[in-house]
Symmetry: C2
Subunit: 185 residues, 2 copies
DNA sequence: ATACATACGGAACCTTGTTCCGTTTCGCAA
DNA sequence: TTGCGAAACGGAACAAGGTTCCGTATGTAT
């Protein structure tokens, strides 16, 4: 692949993420192309359909969120890493409200996304949980996927952009995890 | 209101219902106008926004479903009326799958619909239930709204148009209602 | 240095919602 | 019955956004 193509794909994903965040996933392609400093033809060369671009942005952000897990695991105490990552996940969910409605729009282009979502995020969280459990910081027996669903549910009440409520609830959840922990002797 | 206007509104609602059923609620206005034998200008005279037409169609169909309750009550035995109406309701829900996604599209034009839905259908079902209860055909203590929700949930698995599964489940539900009945002595 | 495949840009096209306005029709009153 | 004004009609024209096309520019391999 030519270097300029690679560069443009990257600019497009960056620009699209920013425009989607500001104007929702219904934002005009032309706006995104302009923000990326690129012609619409280039957009369609790399993303034949509008939905392809949306899906690509989504996947990239899921990746970023999943990757944050290993970074946090490498730099924080187990329980800190877990709680920080969940906050990161809260931000991710909150930012993707517009995308959630796209998911339920019935367009089959979005069908594979939930599976990708789970495939990337569940192992990430599972690893954080496992580390925290072996460190004796949180209890055992909590399913990673359940936790992801629960946090996502906690985020839904916040119609506006505020994640304060969700963050408080997630804090509570993490305290709950700590509750039954078996501290290392 | 002029007679021709009344006629056209009616044709439009009929045409829209038919087109929506065949092509979904995203069908072009022009198609509907043509099917109604009317110009687009006329559509916009009566329904200033596309969503207004969708909402009107929806309300009319909710009305039809609700009205069916009193008709059935007048012509059937209490328990028959109840079970037939629930089947009618299954058909209604199944036909409105496209509309369901419109409801969750975030467009505020659809916000008042769920309330209308409940306002028309819950009393209708409540009356059927009450009659069946006093006739000793079904048990007491079942909430009409709960039942509406339950039946709607039972319809969701059927992605395709088939309502067979939902109908079987609703039959089961009605049998459940009969189970604890106190037959008149 | 050259050639050519690849990628780029953006004008043009198509579809679809919406507006506008000249024309037609209805319903009432003389 | 006829005439008139308001109401309604039809559809061309506009706006906006997705998608296509193709002449031009650019990277890369020889």
């Amino acid at each position: 692949m030519r270097a300029d193509a690679q560069r443009n794909i990257n600019s497009l994903l960056l620009a699209a993420a920013s425009v989607f965040a500001k104007a929702g996933v219904d934002a005009p392609i032309r706006d995104i192309a302009q923000k990326a400093g690129v012609g619409v033809g280039t957009v369609y060369r790399h993303f034949p359909q509008r939905t392809d671009l949306i899906v690509a942005v989504f996947r990239r952000e899921v990746d970023a969120c999943a990757d944050a897990a290993s970074e946090l695991a490498a730099t924080c105490l187990p329980c800190d890493a877990l709680s920080r990552w969940l906050m990161r996940y809260v931000d991710f969910i909150a930012a993707k409200r517009g995308l959630a409605s796209a998911l339920h729009s019935g367009d089959p282009a979005f069908d594979p996304l939930p599976a990708y979502f789970q495939a990337r995020l569940e192992p990430a969280l599972r690893a954080l949980l496992a580390t925290a459990v072996t460190a004796g910081a949180v209890r055992d027996g909590v399913d990673a996927f359940d936790l992801l669903q629960a946090v996502a549910s906690l985020c839904t009440p916040a119609r506006d952009g505020s994640t304060d409520h969700a963050r408080r609830m997630v804090d509570l959840l993490v305290d709950g995890l700590r509750y039954g922990a078996k501290p290392k002797v």
